[in-house]
């Protein structure tokens, strides 16, 4: 992925800083609790939610298992409808393709619809380096861009900001990017939305090039789908003369009919609405309506590496609804920035280390950024078993082993910092295989229990920093069982 988060500390250090920020914690608690209750209500309204979830999972799995076929089909359909398809193996290639396409139009600015893929590849920075200004038009993205900030949530990148902070950013920064904030701007959400409307309108009306992602691409018809709320997406998708969409290869679905599942599950899971205010669907170009030129950039950037992992590939089912972030107790406290990626929260903890590999400190720490409570799995509308993948990735970090990076098989070495964990597991394996040794050890532990420290020394200190060491009983279970004949003697 991009260099946006280079130098990011591992999750525990970043989270430690975040949890001591009381404003941040207040903002996150308020926002996630608001949406949680609403989502539950929106989902409960649909009697066949479990079946929709299962169908969504199966459609995505089926697509992934035949991804080559559907990508080729998509390319044919888009081309037949008047679009041009480009393939980008990594972020640099995607950025270069987009920059060249923009330059070919002679324009120096683009308007952008919120898109995770272009965040992931750092497109704005790459365009800036080529002298092209990219204007974010989603309200939350605008807040992040004006505040020179980083996104902290998939759906609402500025979730870490409250209304007062947003007002201050608008007052301070809007003038530098275009139309200044209205005088005396209040912190009422409706006034802030109005300020964004006024600020961006001049940009929409003069825009010649739009850049977007897509929520879905239909292989059968070549149709792209963008799901949004504000109308900024419609502006970027219909007013410019040239439209460039950068989309991850996992966003393809086989048939038009498949949309009937995701158009029901996505809005209810993300904004807790029966339907989001606007959904745009376009197939290539249409004479006299919308952009005359349409480019689709299909992005790999670690997705095929993820696909090669039979356990981890389910992360590619993700439809970016962000329900897992909103229910996660770790996300609620640590916030999105601690994850060091544009994909925060539970899905980020399994997606980032697969897309980027586990070489960096932050990526190696992400599979541990979870209590494995399973709330994420429960709410996921495509049933990604996030805890399963987390445990799988922990094993990969601690034990090393085979993985695919940039299309090549590599043998990962066990990560540093897990030596104590490995030693403990080896000792456990040895003891459990030898009943006599286990018994002797348990008795010794029981007899010396008054001498046990409350916390572990050395490398174990981190483990006991947040939890008590379990108390050892005065008598080992197996001794008790033998003495009382399994409790039948009635003696305790």
């Amino acid at each position: 992925m991009s260099g946006t988060f280079v130098g990011m500390p591992a999750f525990p250090e970043a989270a430690r800083a975040a949890v001591s920020d009381e404003t941040l914690r207040g903002n996150l608690r308020h926002a996630t609790h608001t949406i949680r209750a609403k989502r539950a209500k929106a989902v409960a309204e649909v009697a066949d939610w479990a079946q929709l979830r299962e169908a969504g999972k199966r459609i995505k799995d089926h697509t992934l298992r035949h991804l080559d076929r559907y990508l080729v089909r998509l390319e044919e359909s888009v081309t037949a409808a008047g679009g041009t398809v480009h393939w980008a193996a990594d972020a640099d290639e995607a950025n270069r393709i987009v920059a060249d396409l923009v330059k070919a139009t002679g324009e120096r600015e683009v308007v952008k619809v919120k898109s995770m893929a272009t965040q992931e590849i750092g497109l704005n920075e790459a365009l800036e380096a080529e002298g092209i200004r990219a204007y974010e038009t989603d309200l939350a993205e605008l807040i992040v861009q004006l505040g020179k900030d980083r996104p902290s949530h998939i759906l609402v990148p500025a979730i870490h900001r409250n209304r007062g902070e947003i007002r201050d950013i608008f007052r301070r920064e809007m003038g530098r990017w275009g139309r200044p904030a209205p005088d005396g701007l209040s912190d009422a959400p409706a006034d802030l939305a109005e300020a964004a409307r006024l600020h961006l309108r001049e940009k929409f009306l003069r825009a010649k090039v739009g850049v977007s992602g897509a929520n879905f691409m239909v292989a059968e018809t070549g149709t792209l789908v963008v799901v949004e709320s504000e109308g900024n997406g419609r502006m970027c998708l219909t007013l410019p003369e040239t439209l460039i969409s950068v989309v991850g290869i996992e966003k393809v679905v086989p048939t038009w009919r498949d949309l009937e599942v995701f158009l029901q599950t996505l809005p209810r899971s993300s904004t807790a609405e029966r339907m989001n205010p606007y959904t745009s669907m376009w197939t290539g170009t249409t004479d006299g309506d919308g952009p005359r030129v349409f480019h689709l950039v299909l992005l790999d950037n670690g997705r095929t590496d993820t696909l090669a992992d039979e356990v981890g590939r389910q992360a590619l089912r993700c439809i970016r609804c962000s329900a897992c972030l909103n229910v996660c107790p770790v996300y609620e406290r640590a916030g999105g920035h601690a994850y060091g990626s544009v994909y925060p929260g539970p899905i980020g903890a399994i997606l980032s280390p697969q897309l980027r590999g586990t070489a960096s400190e932050v990526d190696a720490s992400l599979p541990y950024a979870s209590s494995l409570c399973g709330a994420c799995y429960e709410v996921c509308p495509v049933a990604i078993d996030i805890p399963e993948v987390l445990v799988h990735l922990r094993e990969r970090v601690a034990e090393g082993g085979e993985a695919v990076r940039d299309g090549n098989k590599v043998l990962l070495r066990p990560a540093k910092g897990h030596a104590a964990e490995r030693a403990a597991m080896r000792a456990a394996r040895w003891a459990f295989a030898r009943p006599g040794a286990l018994r002797a050890g348990q008795r010794l532990a029981s007899r010396t229990r008054r001498l046990h420290p409350r916390t572990l020394p050395g490398p174990g200190r981190a483990w006991t920093a947040g939890r008590d060491l379990p108390a050892v009983p005065s008598e080992p279970f197996r001794d008790w069982w033998q003495r009382t004949r399994g409790g039948r003697d009635g003696e305790r």
Binding site: I143, P189, L239, D300
Partner: protein
Amino acid sequence: MSSRERILGRVRRALADVPPGEDSPVERGYLRRHGEGGASKTVALLAENLAEYRALVHRCAVGELPGVVAGLLAARGARSVLVPAGLDEGWLARSDVRRVADRAESTPAELDRVDSVITGCAVAVAETGTIVLDGSPDQGRRRITLVPDHHICVVRVPEQVVSSVPEALERLDPRRPLTWISGPSATSDIELDRVEGVHGPRTLEVVLAG
């Protein structure tokens, strides 16, 4: 090697565990629609859900349309209204608001100076409170229902109303540019709370005629 070949090659190697010839059809155990109900119940549900997302809903007989449309434009104080080429002229027969034709050469800035727009629709979805535009002659190009701040959409009931999303997709042609609209423009970006009115029309009036 082109990136296309590189990516497709990586995909095929990544899927080495998938047995050749595997092709399992996807089971679809979900419902085609939620709940039973006749046409009048479906239309009532549409009205209810549209209103919940802050669309202004009006009901009238087809014959009353010209009067209702004239009333809505007058109440809004609109001085100009965008009219798609294929719109039934009769709908505007009672209004003297200046008509602006949907012309290919009109710029976004020109559209921004028009007060209102009136269109038909392709289909309406009761369960979600959604109207869908497909660029047919009575709906015009996508931009005309986007830039003006006031959109009047006429839905012919009950024939244009379906219950559910699956039923709507069946009726739509994917080759046409489609816009699904559920209430006026809104955002949840400030503290995850919904606020109506950002970039699209801030007032959406839906007339259920029939």
